[in-house]
Amino acid sequence: MTLLLAIWLLPLAGAIVNWAFGPQLKRAAGIIGSAAVGLPFIGTLLTWRAATSQAPGIHQHLFSWMPGFDFGLLLDPLSLIWTLIITGVGFLILFYSIGYMWPDPAIARFFAYMNFFVFAMLTLVLSDNFVGLLIGWGLVGLASYFLIGFWFYKPAAVAAARKAFVINVVGDVAMMFAIFMIFAKIGSLSFASVFGNVGALDGWLFWICVFLFIGAAAKSAQIPLHTWLPDAMEGPTPVSALIHAATMVTAGVYLIARCWPLWNASHEAQVLVGTIGGLTALAGALLGMAQWDIKRILAYSTMSQIGYMIMGVGVTAYQAGVAHFFTHAFFKACLFLGAGIVIQKLADEQDIRRMGGMRSRAPVAFWAMFAAVLAISGFPGFAGFFSKDAVVYGALEHGHPWLYAVGIITAGITAYYMFRLFFVTFFGTYRGETAAEHEHEHDPAHAPGWIMAAPVAILGVFSVIAGYAMIGANSAWSRLFAQTFPAENVPSVAISEGWTTAILFVVMAAGIAIAYLRYATPVALANAPARLQLESERMPAPLVKLFYFDDVIDWLFVKPSQALGKFFGSWLDPDVIDGAVRGVVAISVGLANVVRGWQTGLLRSYALIVVLGAAAFAIYYALQGAVR
């Protein structure tokens, strides 16, 4: 149906218009950019009934490329949820960007990139086959590269963009291998025919899952391919909110949820993915405790929360993993956009040690982020509570008790470091050294405050209510996915869901209490600068060094690559290859030097040689005659 095509292509049109007419549009690019994402959101809402009423959803065939590969769009409950988040949260973030990017002269380029990203992400989730998915997969990586390096005059941003792109390409290549293997076994790449013939994959199934997961891990910042995500915070804050929190980094979750028939058939793949997800959740939370940059804390918390999602879909609790994606998109976007308000008020200060007392200066951000922090901590009644409970309990139900334990521990750490961020930023008094008061409300160089405040407030509201669809055994959420994911027949487990909720609540409350005692008691607030100083000095080395992941990757891959480059650059190329070329030249020159000695220019000597030659012939034939 044409509506689906419009949903898919409108963001691309927005990107083209903003890119081509950017210099003329200036800030109007923001309106076009927001509309190009907001209209598809309305369109997606209109298709809701059609997409969820019959089993496969809306399937729109576009063209046949070659036998076994038809390109088409598929809107079923799974891609519907992703499309709603991409366009809905995407619209709010783009609208917010009008304010955030207001002073930037390259605002049209920003919106062109953002629209291009939305188009790429929609390609990824709407494709009905693996090739379209891979195309979208590559394009979102490209968009991410553009946007991380948006401020290309900052060397750190350029380095971060390059790092993100390289690591993502590692994942793209791994995914390509998986797709090759699927094609070799089945001869078709449409989801319907692949998932209908999982049995034909037999011995290759586990390796297909492994390669697909490497792709998912690179995109979704799973250990050990996560190191690009914290660096990606060099991009503008709305980029971090949309791409590196709400949508692109959850593509790995989408991939595994989409490929559930493969995962259902391979227990080894479930263990692998669940374990990596759990470890990522734990490592991200631990690293989040040790950061001081507000955006990097959020980046590690994103990594940790995606770890939960991957753990959920990895242990085949698909509904729970997707539910956590759904709620996370709201509260994490809210956190990033709120952080963006704070950062802009403090003239690009991102270190929470030099914040404090922001509650009175950014009240909207304070209240919205309060809701979001409670949501991410899993406070009962807030969005994250329902989905996180489902993921953690799902791990136990599907027979992974130690992942269950990791999930519970991580929940406590999450509550601690998120409230640490919240208390240190918003409570106490302002600790900044520069008294740079950037109150933009009456400054014509900046946008009206409501442009940024309204999306944050809306996301704050959704951070509360987004989980209400998931209440109860026969919830709206489980009915939505009843035909997408198989009916689960899980054995009853020792610990009931009610007890799980209780344990999670106690652990979370402990995390909040520790954060309160350390950062928000009257004594702590009074001595905040000294205490924060002491804490940064006493930070354990493994946390400061980010568990040495960057160092190990550097040592394993970057250093050998540089050594190889040096080997080629300083020996093989100049000495061997250039040497061969120079050798040929030297031989030619040497021969020429010998021969040119003979060219005396003396006409009579040439004549003498001619005569001698003629005489030699004459003597030769004379002798021949004599012999005969």
Partner: protein, 106 residues
């Protein structure tokens, strides 16, 4: 062979031709004046012509006569070009010693 046709023995023609040819060669090799060198080349042409005619008479084959005319024609052309080169070289350097004209030296 009829004696009237070739009253002198063929070997004498060959001998005279060889002498004239060697004189021409010696002139080209030893003299440095290009005019003299051109004249020496003419000597060599004519030594060859003498042999053509002598053998044509000896063997009653007119191809030798025809070839002699061809040689005369080519020799005339060669002389014209050779003299032209000499004149051009003389104009540029007022000196026509062939040992001095060695711009193409390697």
């Amino acid at each position: 062979m009829h004696p009237d046709l070739l009253p002198v023995a063929l070997a004498n023609y060959v001998g005279l031709s060889s002498v004239i040819f060697v004189i021409g060669v010696a002139g080209v090799l030893l003299r440095r004046n290009p005019l003299i060198m051109l004249m020496s080349i003419e000597l060599m042409w004519n030594a060859a012509n003498l042999l053509f005619l002598a053998f044509a008479r000896a063997w009653l084959n007119n191809a030798g006569h025809i070839f002699a005319f061809l040689v005369i024609t080519v020799a005339a052309a060669e002389a014209a070009i050779g003299l032209a080169i000499v004149v051009v070289v003389f104009r540029t350097r007022t000196n026509v010693d062939v040992d001095e004209v060695a711009a193409m030296k390697g």
